[in-house]
Symmetry: C2
Subunit: 199 residues, 2 copies
DNA sequence: GGGTGAGTTGACCGGGCGGTCAAGATCTCC
DNA sequence: GGAGATCTTGACCGCCCGGTCAACTCACCC
């Protein structure tokens, strides 16, 4: 596409992406027609295809955009933190805060992860997330603070807890990110049985 | 539909469900057309609508069937086990074994969970799973073996770990259920930092 | 061997889909 | 004020979708 867009054009583009993302998330990607999108925004169909190659390309852009913004938030939380375990904690907190502010995107990610045509794009993002966490875990293992286990397994487990708790308690039950983050951090650090002494 | 089916009819029905489930899982539910299904099975389109009300009804039956079989397996693992913590462990192991034998259904569940038109049916199943686990956790808390925390949060965290690890290491990486289950159990019981003494 | 109901066929239907495009409106800058 | 780029319109296209149905075959029983 690579069109030269004016400021006004860029704004319109943003609006289309936001509105589409909401429709996709509410009613599903396939069931949402391009006609619905442009009707809902009171523009002609041509507008859509002026800004996007196709419906599929639009979804991919929405996903890429979201992943970028999530990663940016995570890194802003983590920078300057020396303790690897605390970096993991901050990563979880960043994720919860991001989900709290982008609840409508949650279902869209789930959908994309479930379809072979979109999953590969998400997997790349997940892989970066995993290797970020793996790095912290390795450091913590070196310090003797985490038992010797396959770090990528631990990283995936942490992601799983974060995913599930954010989905259930933030998106479905509209909870507060900081509280859900507390719970996720506790579980990830100590599991069910752990009885870590208070710091 | 409630048609009277002969043994032959029931068999055909099973074949249709299995084949459709595989196509849905591979290519997505919406993108898979009824024509594809019946062509792939070398039957006329009428066969499909002889056995199922609609494409949507078929998916719901596949999901209900799967949930039933998963729950049945979990209960068979758990029955007669008195220790609540060990019941949780056995539930995880049952889930991993089930996923190991039904890898193709994994993506289908993810999809269904992501769409508002199907999610409610899955949520009921997940709710039963959660309350099963909650019951064990409450018992363990009473015994003073699990720290006092909202049990439903812990239950969801366990489900999250199980989901993520089965998806990544069983479905994507084709791992062995028992090993993945070991990892999930360890993480759920001890978290990252826990250093439980060997039994 | 004929009758009955289970099972099967595939042409057909209405409709909605993603995407196109010729035409026109609007903005920007000289 | 006009030239050229940006932006917008909506009728239109070909396609394929989920679903229907009248006609047919087959298995089985009396």
């Amino acid at each position: 596409m690579d069109r030269r867009l004016t400021a006004r054009g860029l704004e319109r583009r943003r609006q289309l992406m936001d509105y589409s993302a909401r429709l996709f998330a509410r009613n599903g990607y396939d069931p949402t027609s391009v006609a619905e999108i442009v009707d809902g925004m009171n523009v002609g169909k041509g507008v859509f295809y002026w800004y996007f190659e196709s419906k599929e390309a639009l979804l991919l852009e929405i996903l890429a955009d979201s992943q970028r913004s999530l990663r940016r938030l995570q890194q802003s939380y983590i920078e300057n933190e020396a303790d690897p375990v605390r970096r993991i904690e901050l990563g979880i907190r960043a994720t919860m805060d991001w989900v709290g502010q982008n609840r409508h995107l949650w279902g869209l990610f789930r959908f994309a992860a479930s379809e072979e045509r979109f999953a590969p794009y998400l997997r790349r993002g997940q892989q970066t997330a995993v290797s970020d966490v793996v790095r912290h875990i390795n450091e913590a293992i070196t310090q003797g603070r985490v038992r010797q286990t396959d770090p990528s397994v631990l990283a995936h487990a942490i992601l799983g807890v974060t995913n599930q708790l954010s989905g259930t308690f933030l998106v479905e039950q509209d909870g507060r990110p900081s509280e859900v983050a507390d719970a996720a951090v506790d579980f990830c650090l100590d599991g069910l049985l752990g009885a870590r002494l208070p710091v």
